[in-house]
Amino acid sequence: MTGEAMRGERGARATIIVGLVLLSLPLIASYLWLVLASFGDGHDLTWGIFPTDYTVKHWRFLWDPKGAGGDLPSIWRATGNTLFVALSITLCDVFLATNAGYVFSRWQFRGRGPLLAFTMVLHAFPSVTLLVSLFIVLLHMGLLGSLWGIVLVKVALQLPFSIFVMKGFFDGVPWESEMTALTDGCTRLGAYRRVILPQILPGIAAISIFSFLEGWKEFLFVFAFIFDKDSWTLSVYLQSILSRGSVVDYGIMAAVAVFYMLPVILFFLFTQKYLMKVQLGGVKG
């Protein structure tokens, strides 16, 4: 390649990068503001975004149970609740979706096609429309006000998508692979564990990430079905800071928001290569 062509290519690349940076600037700026505001002291700002004085007092809630205000429970309690919800959803979802996906992919049973289509229809319902009916269902099940109720509802709503993803992954594992495993000396279960499971791991990783994030960010159902502050998750915790009294303490709000985001960002950084592998395999047969 000549020097000139190289320069030309570099120029084009630089233009693209500058363009992309400009486009993402509003987004970067708002997150930057959030982080800076959580450490800013007072209302004096340079360039409208950088605080003049810095403090960690907004982060008091990390070590002081009353740090975010006396009327709120400990943030660790809320974090624990959020983690419980997110992990329970993930575990249930992965367990059910892998089993259902295997059956949908491997077994020809009556009503398989309609059932598969129906799961997709289920996924199309906006959760808000189900709010009242779910309230009544949970009430009669005695799960209203319980985080288990939230897990149940979220798993039910998340399952169709996860099943669909898992079916696609199972479709990608040839029948011959399983049959060879049997003649090689595996039991049916052994073939599943030793031969099929390793081949669908990216799928399991993908639906785990999706379900975990769904649980982590869930607001609506917790807001509607949880009445005890001790059962709050972080999303409702954050909302309560925004909505209490007439003056919002943006310092604390920003600190809690950053705290809420951090695990997700870290989680995403480590798992994004699996997310890239998700394919919504078409319906075969």
């Binding site: 692979s177 060879t180 003649t183 595996c186």
Partner: protein, 374 residues
């Protein structure tokens, strides 16, 4: 290593009958081929042998012991699929060693046997690669190595060479044969490729419509086909058939006619002159239709050249006999022919087969066939 026997095997999938009364025997250390067009039930038979399908009726015997209710993992059978079905998440070494790991063979022993089989299959340097990094031929070798590493009683191969290109196929055929000779594993190969079946197998079972049409070595199938299906299926280009047969007399000479036109002369007092020609279909292989550039004379009949397909050493000639009957002939490619040319096509009664018009069963083989295969 074992003697394999199928007795009156039946298989139905719901309403569909896939196998009907399939019986065969494969001797210890032999290679047998199940040959037939797709959908004939040959793969189903293979999967029943492996234990992947349960037969609806009949018996599967390994060394005289019934395999009913015996799980695939306990049959000690090696299986090679057309798609190879290698485990993508394992290296070549792990793929080949997998059956031994399942048998809980000690680690050093696994390493030793994997190395041994890998060398036999010519995979020495590839052991640490993943299947996706291998060519089709190499994947085929890995699949075969994995199937024989546990020293199975029976090796089953489902269209093992169909995914390979022509040259590689010929080489792999020789290698399968070599490895089989060295290991003496009883082997059953399923294929739709007669060349593959003939070059590999000691004994070939031709299947069609879920039934075995004929079993025998390649010469028996070729020279003495049991019915019209086998006759048409074995041999490339396939056998010529002529219908609507009658016997005609011209002075001293006797002729078989097809559709009222002369086809071939026959000798008086022979089988053909007394048989029931009306209920029969005549078959003759292309190499037994002699073509001479001179117009019809003596024993030949007039035919027009309608098609010429050069195949290197030979030339496949499409002929149209008087009355519209089409035949194919194989002649040396040195013969100078042109499309439209009128030539003489001669058929010798010693090479003629007759099949029952209704059932298709062979009712007569020419003297040549009987001399060869008798």
């Amino acid at each position: 290593m074992a003697t394999i026997e199928l007795q009156g095997l039946e298989k139905r999938f719901g309403e569909v009958e896939v196998l009907r009364d399939v019986s065969l025997t494969v001797g210890d250390g032999e290679i047998a081929a199940l040959l037939g067009p797709s959908g004939c039930g040959k793969s189903t038979t293979l999967f029943i042998l492996a234990g992947l399908y349960q037969p609806s009726g009949g018996k599967v015997l390994f060394d005289g012991t019934s395999m009913a209710g015996v799980h695939p993992k306990d049959r000690n059978v090696g299986l090679v699929f057309q798609s190879y079905a290698l485990y993508p998440h394992m290296t070549v070494r792990e793929n080949i060693g997998f059956p031994l790991v399942l048998q809980k063979v000690a680690r050093p022993e696994i390493a030793r046997r994997v190395k041994e089989v890998a060398e036999l299959a010519g995979l020495g340097e590839l052991l640490d690669r993943k299947p996706s990094q291998l060519s089709g031929g190499q994947q085929q070798r890995v699949a075969a190595a994995r199937a024989i590493v546990k020293r199975p009683r029976l090796l089953l191969m489902d269209e093992p060479l169909s995914n390979l290109d022509l040259e590689l196929r010929a080489r792999m055929r020789r290698e399968i044969k070599r490895v089989q000779r060295e290991t003496k594993i009883t082997t059953i190969i399923v294929t739709h490729d007669q060349e593959e079946a003939m070059s590999l197998a000691d004994r070939i079972y031709v299947m069609q419509g879920g039934q075995i049409q004929q079993g025998g070595d390649h010469r028996a199938l070729y020279e003495r086909p049991a019915n019209r299906f086998v006759a048409g299926f074995i041999g490339m280009p396939s056998m010529n058939f002529a219908d609507d047969l009658t016997l005609a007399k011209d002075g001293e000479a006797l002729w078989i006619e097809s559709g009222g036109r002369r086809l071939l002369p026959i000798s008086a007092g022979g089988e053909l002159s007394v048989g029931d020609l009306a209920g029969a279909v005549l078959g003759v292989r292309p190499e037994h239709v002699a073509v001479s550039p001179a117009p019809a004379a003596g024993r030949g009949v007039a035919a027009r050249v309608v098609d010429l397909v050069p195949e290197g050493r030979e030339l496949v000639v499409g002929l149209e006999l008087e009355g519209g009957l089409e035949m194919r002939s194989i002649v040396p490619s040195t013969l100078d022919l042109a499309i439209g040319q009128v030539v003489s096509a001669a058929i010798d009664e010693a090479f003629v087969h007759l099949f029952d018009r209704e059932g298709g069963a062979a009712v007569h083989h020419g003297g040549h066939s009987r001399a060869v295969a008798g």
